[in-house]
């Protein structure tokens, strides 16, 4: 198989414009006879479904939640990047492009990333026109803040609820098309199979989660916007329902899976507290604008803190180690996520962790509260403000910026972060890997596209903060509506897709067989039992640090777990009703297969890059060491009957416009 990314010729700044000008169009009369399926209604899915419907296609949109508004994009907190340069700090399309390539540790595709940076400004315009209430300054103009890995302020935000506001914008655009009858919405439906007819994606099999019925849906193109697969780790910041099934099923039908091991471990999450915990909660990266990260400088102090004999506020400055500021003076607390996460692990492994499990560091706002308080006192002309007054003013400012995050933290931990530093630790957050797509976002199955987190293309080995929202909306609003049309131009005479063909019958039977097997298995262990075990293997061996021994062992363990799962899982209830255990079992079965492929990919990539840190490949200072000679490529895996027999294809990455350098944030 020859991988062709179909990147347009010419200078990077002209590629997209030229491509759009040359791309084939479908005339409005023909669009009315073309059906498009969109799976998932997060930022990518809702924006794509709305945009394709506006253009005149008949869209069928699917989500497993009870409403499209609840897709997990809703939980994104900190913001969305755009190269608007409103702050006049030297930002530009090129700089956003460059930061993203560098942040991804030179493992993403130049042309796709440049296009992302190019359309970013339009996203903000579009969202404001929809009535998205971004944060504003007193003059009425939009406010910005900074995120990790960059030295400009290009992040637009709505308090700590940016994802919510953007998704509700896309959702309302989607609802408008639903009202017009241009989108048919299938909420509480889960895609279980991709249907491929004569080599082209022609529809899906979806399970109605209320009646349990398997439904056949035909279309001329299928857009998978189903998000990432972080839940393979069981504990992650993903929603409980987030899953890999849509993309994994497409993979098993021929779509290559790219860079599956590239996982983002986010540095600032609320630490794990117990065995029965079901998920982890993110504390936005935006907090690193104002929060300082530290651990005690001395082990005995860390030990005393762990035993509850010492409070962090009692430690004087000289007994604290602000390790990010120490190690990375030019980026400080705003280094990219992979770097910050590894640094936290390094300190905790050295015995300096600050909670009972020894796996937590401090995120401290006291300096910010004091600084803001002083500025505010000056603004108000309070020359002799007392310390108490200053702190009060400072807390008000911090509350206005991050109030909902502080409240969330307090609800979960019962600690007041205005008074004592937050305790945080890295957790699985995002997956850069996903289905391989070409420049048009089409997978290796013609007619099957992947958008947003479900594809692999823009973030390389590490995603920069506030770029996921940007990519989801870029793909859905501004890229796919054009590029899918190029494919559909060949489909104008196809006519309606019949769902009575053998391919649909077979796909439905495959799904039915899986369901029957799980329900009739009569094992003795719950789905969560297996999911937790898978998560432990993945976190220990394919998490923040990976090694040849660990990965080899993990592959064996996962293979054994898979056998045990099919023998020993117990799924109660019936198929023809709401059955949440069955839903989980179907998802976990796919996670187990994916987990093995992730470990294989991590093993095969014998270098460190971005979030993929192989213990064997590090500098003396513990930084990731790339091997550009041998690994400047995208790993694209072809399914071959079993995850163990997956075949590796390589898409070489050619850096024509950016010089490949060692990434440094020092």
């Amino acid at each position: 198989m020859k991988l062709d990314a179909r990147i347009p010729e010419g200078p990077i700044e002209n590629k997209w414009t030229k491509h759009k000008a040359e791309i084939r169009l479908v005339n409005p009369a023909n669009k009315r006879h073309i059906d498009v399926i969109v799976v998932g209604t997060g930022l990518a899915g809702a924006s794509a479904a709305a945009s394709m419907a506006e253009m005149g296609y008949n869209v069928k949109a699917f989500c497993f939640q009870d409403s499209p508004r609840r897709a997990h994009s809703i939980a994104a907190q900190g913001g969305i990047n755009a190269a608007k340069n409103y702050q006049n700090d030297g930002d530009s399309t090129y700089r956003l492009f460059y930061d993203t390539i560098k942040g991804g540790d030179y493992r993403s595709r130049e042309a796709n990333v440049y296009r992302l940076a190019e359309v970013s400004a339009s996203i903000i315009d579009q969202c404001v026109a929809q009535g998205v209430p971004f944060a504003r300054e007193y003059g009425g103009l939009l406010d910005n803040r900074s995120f990790g890995g960059v030295q400009v302020s290009r992040t637009f935000y709505a308090k700590g609820q940016t994802g919510q506001q953007l998704l509700l914008g896309a959702y309302s655009a989607l609802e408008r098309q639903i009202a017009k009858g241009k989108v048919t919405m299938y909420a509480r439906h889960e895609m279980l199979e991709l249907v491929v007819v004569d080599g082209k994606a022609r529809g899906i099999i979806a399970r109605n989660l209320i009646t349990g019925e398997l439904e056949r849906h035909g279309a001329h193109a299928v857009l998978l916007c189903s998000g990432g697969y972080g839940n393979v780790f069981f504990l992650s910041t993903n929603a409980m329902g987030s899953n890999v099934t849509a993309t994994w099923r497409a993979h098993k039908k021929g779509a290559l899976f790219a860079n599956p091991c590239f996982t983002q471990i986010h540095p600032t999450c609320i630490p794990v507290s117990g065995e029965l915990q079901s998920k982890l909660t993110l504390m936005s990266e935006s907090l690193r604008n104002d929060g300082r990260i530290w651990v005690p400088a001395h082990k005995e102090d860390a030990e005393a803190i762990r035993q509850g004999k010492l409070k962090p506020t009692e430690l004087t400055e000289d007994k604290r180690d602000y390790y990010l500021e120490r190690r990375y003076p030019s980026f400080g607390n705003l280094v990219p996520r992979d770097v910050a996460s590894r640094a936290a692990k390094e300190r905790c492994d050295a015995g300096l962790g600050v909670n009972s499990t020894g796996e937590a560091v401090y995120l401290d706002f006291s300096a910010a509260i004091e600084r803001y308080g002083k500025t505010e006192a000056n603004i108000r002309g309070m020359q002799n403000a007392s310390e108490k007054e200053v702190l009060k003013l400072g807390k008000d400012i911090v509350e206005a910026k991050y109030g909902n995050l502080f409240q969330m933290y307090e609800k979960i931990t019962d600690d007041n972060p205005y008074e004592t530093p937050m305790r945080i630790y890295p957790a699985v957050h995002y997956t850069m890997g996903g289905l391989w797509v070409d420049y048009n976002l089409m997978t290796s199955v013609p007619g099957c596209f992947a958008l947003g987190e479900a594809n692999f293309s823009d973030h390389g080995a590490n995603r920069l903060g506030a770029s996921a929202l940007m990519q989801g909306l870029a793909d859905g609003y501004f890229v796919a509506p054009y590029t899918v049309g190029d494919y559909l131009a060949d489909e104008i005479s196809t006519g309606a897709i019949s769902t009575d063909t053998a391919a649909f019958v077979d796909a439905e039977k495959e799904a039915q067989d899986r369901i029957d097997h799980l329900l009739n298995n009569n094992g003795s262990k719950t789905v969560d039992h297996f999911h937790k075990r898978l998560g432990k293997i993945m976190w220990n061996e394919c998490g923040m640090e990976r090694s040849i021994e660990g990965l080899t062992k993990a592959i064996e363990d996962i293979q054994a777990l898979r056998v045990e799962f099919y023998k020993g899982v117990r799924v109660p209830g019936k198929a023809a009703t709401v059955n949440q255990e069955l839903e989980k079992a179907l998802r976990v079965a796919d996670f187990i297969e994916l987990g093995e492929l992730m470990c294989r990919d991590a093993l095969e990539r014998n270098e460190s890059c971005g979030g993929h840190f192989r213990a064997e490949h590090q500098t003396t200072e513990g930084e990731a060491m790339r091997d550009d000679t041998n690994f400047t490529f995208v790993s694209a895996w072809e399914f071959n009957g079993d995850p163990s027999s997956a075949k590796l294809h390589k898409e070489d990455l050619n850096y024509e416009f950016v010089e490949v350098k060692t990434r440094s944030y020092k």
Partner: protein, 249 residues
């Protein structure tokens, strides 16, 4: 902690349903309410019983899926939180906890604690948007300055998560807080002005069609709203509605 749970079990929309009692042991303070429910379900699966069905997803208070009526309160004790943000430290050893679904004509029960809230989506579809197509050729985002105070108020209204606690709490099962939050958000922004009259009329019309009750200004919705959506929004919507109704052709 050892607790007694009294949970509403209903096998389907047509089933009558009843409260059932489940003892549960070994609950920890730091567990969230839903983790306690997970624990119960693990136990039920082990015993060969059907686990309790309930909606949940993000478990961080933002998706609006979770929806339990706990001890007579939407999202249980505590203010400004959803069910998933409720922690077991709010309960005591030996407590009996009553858990029911949202109850409202416009939110029919699907199974156990899961209800159908698609009526909310249909209200948004009736006008909860600005009619702007995706083109990339809209005005520059900074072309229209918006007073910070208006933007902040619009944001506060826009933080509604559509969970339906307001409806479940209201003795009339009114959806006024939900509808007014969207009407207000758009009424406070210049982008929402053009379609303002039609929006409020159409959304209120749809709300009535769905079978939600009237508002009698008890303010219970505001108290139970996990996002603190203010009653002011209802007042603003009433003004918008009145204005639109008298000027309508």
């Amino acid at each position: 902690m050892n607790l007694t749970l009294k949970i509403w079990r209903q096998s389907g929309p047509k089933d009558k349903g009843a409260m059932k009692t489940y003892p549960i042991q070994g609950v920890e303070e730091d567990m969230s309410f839903l983790e306690m429910m997970d624990m119960l379900n693990e136990q039920l699966v082990g015993e060969g019983e059907d686990p309790v069905v309930y909606d949940h997803d993000c478990r961080e208070g933002i998706c609006g899926s979770c929806s339990m009526y706990i001890n007579g309160e939407a999202h249980g004790p505590g203010r400004g939180i959803t069910t998933c943000q409720l922690h077991m430290r709010s309960f005591n050893e030996g407590d009996t906890i009553f858990i029911e679904p949202w109850r409202a004509q416009a939110f029919p029960v699907i199974k156990d604690l899961m209800v159908d809230r698609s009526s909310f989506d249909r209200i948004i579809a009736a006008g909860g948007y600005v009619s702007v197509n995706t083109s990339g050729n809209t005005l520059d985002a900074n072309a229209i300055p918006i007073p910070k105070e208006d933007a902040d108020k619009a944001f506060d209204a826009a933080t509604c998560i559509g969970c339906g606690a307001c409806v479940a709490t209201c003795k009339n099962s009114s959806a006024m807080l939900f509808v007014s939050a969207k009407v207000s958000q758009l009424a406070l922004l210049p982008q929402g002005q053009v379609e303002g009259s039609d929006r409020v009329l159409n959304m209120v019309h749809q709300m009535d069609l769905e079978g939600f009750g009237s508002c009698t200004n008890t303010g219970a919705c505001e108290v139970e709203c996990p996002k603190g959506i203010s009653l002011e929004n209802i007042a603003r919507m009433n003004r918008e509605f009145l204005g639109a109704a008298v000027s309508a052709d």
